[in-house]
Symmetry: C2
Subunit: 309 residues, 2 copies
């Protein structure tokens, strides 16, 4: 018996939207959604592949997320990983498991909106019944001759930067969870619900030759800790930029800000290039240290604390 709840249903929604998105991937697409797989024609190049899923009551609460918000966020967290690599977004595949009452078309509309914003093409999908909403997206990005930015490339003496103030998403989550009658909708809650992936900054950093970057998804302290582990080095943070309305703790260990954390031996050059390009000023937060045991935040020994899902 034909059901409206199937891969065919999602593919129907997908094909109604085109393949979703009008990004660079379109020039490489040969066969779009609807066959057993999409077919793309790629040139010789480096490509980044990754997957991120978001799950109800873990990454989002339907008390304050609309289905459209869920779709948007599922794309944004993946784009943020491509940004961290310095890759240009190309293709996404979408898998959704959700209760039958879920408005899949609305989730898909959020996915479409984020795909359009970030220039990535949705080329395939799968849909299944499930007990709660899980959206898993996997993405392909292209490096087009640029070197991928890695967690393992911090170098002694480099200056550490973030692409914006931190703690906003954690503060937003706090405001959403414990709503104050006077605080209904804030820039922080907007940061939590509609995270911004720093894709323009990521691509530009890799064009500038920056080789060490990651995105802050679980919190500055734990993510920098991981980066220092991968690079076998230490760090000394002397400045933590705090988003207005957030606490210093939220800036240090709150997750999901999706700002990029990167290092460079040519800080003035990067700052000037960002200014010339009209991007937000990157913010200096400290220095890479040679000794892997030397890890300090504001003068105290650092701990790998963060927000784990």
């Amino acid at each position: 018996m034909e059901s409206t709840w199937s891969e065919a249903h999602l593919l129907g929604i997908l094909s109604k939207f085109g393949p979703i998105g009008s990004g660079k991937g379109r020039e490489f697409l040969e066969i779009g959604p609807g066959d057993d797989a999409a077919v793309v024609v790629l040139q010789e190049n480096r490509y980044s592949l990754c997957v991120d899923l978001i799950a109800e009551n873990v990454h989002f609460d339907m008390g304050y997320f609309s289905p459209k918000d869920v779709g948007y966020k599922a794309v944004a967290v993946n784009i943020s990983d491509l940004a961290a690599m310095g890759a240009t977004p190309l293709f996404a595949t979408v898998a959704i498991s959700a209760p039958k009452v879920t408005d899949i078309a609305e989730i898909q509309s959020g996915i479409a909106s984020a795909c359009e914003e970030y220039g990535i093409l949705t080329v395939g999908g799968d849909l299944s019944n499930g007990t709660s909403i899980v959206v898993s997206i996997s993405v392909v990005g292209g490096h087009f001759g640029r070197s991928p930015m890695l967690r393992s490339r911090l170098a002694d003496g480099d200056i550490l930067f973030v692409t914006g103030p931190l703690g906003g998403s954690a503060a937003g989550l706090r405001e959403l969870k414990f709503p104050d009658a006077t605080v209904q909708h804030t820039p922080r809650s907007e940061r939590h619900i509609h995270p911004r992936a720093r894709i323009a900054e990521g691509i530009f950093l890799s064009e500038l030759g920056v080789v060490a970057a990651m995105d802050i998804s679980d919190g500055l302290a734990i993510d920098l800790w991981r980066m220092a582990d991968a690079s076998k080095c230490g760090f000394d943070l002397d400045h933590i930029p705090v988003e207005a309305g957030a606490t210093i703790d939220e800036a240090i260990s709150g997750g999901e800000d999706f700002e990029l954390l990167f290092s460079t031996s040519r800080p003035e050059e990067v700052e000037a290039a960002f200014r010339a390009k009209g991007l937000d000023d990157p913010i200096r937060i400290g220095t890479v240290k040679k000794d892997p045991t030397d890890r300090k935040i504001l003068g105290k020994n650092a701990l790998p604390v963060g927000y784990l899902h």
Copy 2:
């Protein structure tokens, strides 16, 4: 607070296993699991991209699936899509959402076993808490100069084939659901729990120049119906090969056999080539008809019936 339940946990399992698999993808892998994304270096070529998820109580029942079986099946259903395209398996990313009590290492061990069997490399993953088990895998396959096989390429007069008898998985599911004291474990239930993806056959068909294929995942009647829609043609099936122990209905409309359905204008040549290669004999089931309204199964008008998730 560091938790064992996170992307880092899955990445730990992944990296313990290598990147999982020793397939052809390994020669293209530059950066394995552990960074924000894996990096692969690809040559100019066509690539197939797709995703399939399997969800608890929809695609499997933990009453008769072990966590290892779940991991194996999640890979096999994706490999089957690559087989249907004629693509060589290269890379997979894995996203798992599951209750905290789930033995993720066992799911991962089933994934590793299938990756090894089908020669695909797991290059990234994500893991999250969830109310039931959902495993979403997305895969990349390479065509290496061969033409992808499409649903839309059935041509009037072509002979239709399947790569093996049908109905085994549906019969196995029936036997698992209504266990008879005399039937504990059958070749059919094995077909349901450990589906076999016809990857060698798919690649070989595309090498032989076959251009029309799909895998039978929802059932012969509905999948052929979709293929005929995509090709704007009809069909006349005069032979339905039924797996031993299955019913004719299970062969026509049972899902998850994952045999390939394909057509060719050179049937004797394909049969001889399969024999020479030592592959199972493909089975003739009927003929492609020009008129899209002319759709018959064993002399009766066909209906798009199948097993939808």
